[in-house]
């Protein structure tokens, strides 16, 4: 669309309301060290007002599973009253029709539901939760009944990437206006499970063709958003639209991060909303200043014409794969370390998932077994 360009300003707030989640998806983007303490309703309300003052337009209520918070309706209302466009990112578990009606009344604008696969057995196995698939279907029906727009987030990896067409068909059947083909990104729990999740190159190539076909077939019916998965791309993704440039993330305990994986980079100092205003953190927090702009770049990024387009890729991935957070994201074929990516993509093993659990939950699950 040439008539409407994206706004290049900080505009999104990812509000991780809790790290508690009934699901155990092995690709969860939460850090391995999950937050225990949680901000209260009043603090979230202040954060939303400060975010709106800063220019933020949309808040993504996420987690963990945001429905694990009993005050989700109050939190949603606070975000709505702050003037933010409110988006709920949910597994659907824990949202009864009654609870969802309260969210709609609170001013919720949009819902994103994740699906793990197109049929229940496989989907529930991937989620590590029996009955999750059916609950997703039920919540999708409620969202549509409330005439609220619905996005289906289909997280793709080796076990389900060949089902991409079936998952898009499912999204249409559920009444979604948009589906995200979200290839697993290898941070946090996904990094731990990389060998079990990594698709083959042949699978990725088939999926790319399938998505093109689906887009042509369903044009005007559903929007299909998809990108090439990291380890098979030639250029890196413009991670979070550039560090400290368009979005920020508040963790359950109140730390403010430039992206959800930023804590994986050692030595960064994060400030908390408990002690400071969001505006002060956005402007001056050492973590936000660390990789803002292009001055921190090394070659080949420093002189690359694409540096304002992809910002050198992802800092967390650069650190995870090269040990240097200032390095070019090795996904880029111009990176001197690019060969690492191909090598790691070949490291596939058929092994059980390490499900994402809080330590206490893991102990309970082990006891139950």
């Amino acid at each position: 669309m040439n008539a409407a360009e994206p706004v290049f300003k900080p505009l999104g707030l990812l509000a991780e309301l809790t790290h508690r989640c009934p699901l155990g998806c092995p690709y969860c983007s939460n850090p391995l060290a999950l937050d225990r303490g949680e901000l209260d309703t009043a603090t979230w309300s202040r954060v939303f007002r400060e975010a709106a003052g800063l220019g933020v337009l949309q808040v993504h209520l996420s987690g963990g599973e945001p429905a694990a918070r009993r005050d989700l309706a109050e939190i949603t209302a606070a975000a709505h009253q702050a003037g933010l466009y409110t988006n709920l990112i949910t597994s659907a578990v824990g949202l009864t029709p009654k609870r969802f009606a309260a969210l709609a009344d609170a001013g919720l604008d949009h819902v994103q539901i994740s699906i793990q696969d197109h049929q229940p057995n496989s989907a529930d196995h991937i989620a590590g939760y029996a009955g999750a698939y059916e609950r997703k279907r039920m919540l999708a029906a409620e969202v549509v009944r409330h005439k609220m727009p619905l996005t289906i987030n289909a997280v793709m990896h080796r076990a389900n990437i060949d089902h991409v067409a079936d998952m898009v068909e499912l999204a249409i059947e559920l009444g979604a206006s948009r589906v995200e083909i979200a290839h697993v990104q290898y941070y946090g729990w996904a990094l731990k499970n990389r060998a079990a999740l990594m698709p083959t190159r042949a699978q990725v190539e088939r999926a790319v063709v399938a998505v093109e076909t689906l887009r042509a077939r369903h044009q005007g019916r559903i929007v299909i958003d998809a990108v090439v998965p990291d380890y098979y791309a030639r250029f890196p993704k413009p991670c979070v639209g550039g560090w400290g440039r368009r979005s920020l993330n508040v963790t359950p305990a109140g730390k403010v991060l430039p992206c959800h994986a930023a804590e994986s980079i050692p030595g960064l100092e994060f400030w908390s909303v408990r002690g400071r205003s969001l505006a002060e953190i956005w402007e001056n927090s050492p973590a936000f200043r660390a990789f803002r702009g292009t001055d921190w770049m090394q070659e080949p990024c420093a002189s690359c014409p694409r540096r304002f387009e992809d910002f050198g890729g992802c800092r967390c991935q650069a650190f995870a794969l090269t040990g240097d957070a200032r390095a070019t994201d090795p996904v880029c074929h111009l990176s001197p370390k690019h060969a690492i990516v191909a090598t790691l993509a070949e490291e596939r093993r058929e092994e059980p998932y390490v499900y994402r659990r809080l330590e206490r939950e893991r102990a309970d699950a082990d006891t139950a077994l």
């Binding site: 008539a3 409407a4 706004v7 505009l11 604008d109 948009r178 077939r217 044009q219």
Partner: protein, 98 residues
């Protein structure tokens, strides 16, 4: 739906409107009107703004074209072609209902 939907003419009686979950709002920090949609934000150019403001769900395409042709003293056929292309593009992105 097939590819032909992209080029199929829009009915002159269609009453284009923003769907649920899509809003055109004024925001100082972002220098004017922005279009908020599910997990996306767009900054419409001045021409798109003039068109979007008229997509109220009450005005027909015919009436919108007449209004724009009159306001900008431009040939009706030209306005119709430009507006139709924009509306179709927005509809494909689920930013508009026709």
């Amino acid at each position: 739906m097939t590819d032909s939907s992209q080029t199929a003419p829009i009915s002159p009686d269609a009453k284009p409107r923003l769907p649920h979950g899509v809003r055109l709002v004024h925001n100082e920090a972002h220098g004017g009107l922005v279009l908020l949609a599910p997990e996306r934000v767009f900054k419409p150019d001045p021409i798109a703004v003039e068109i979007l403001k008229r997509c109220t769900g009450e005005a027909t395409l015919d009436a919108i074209i007449d209004d724009l042709a009159k306001t900008y003293s431009a040939p009706r056929e030209r306005i119709l072609a430009d507006v139709s292309a924009l509306l179709r593009s927005l509809a494909d992105k689920k930013l508009l209902e026709l």
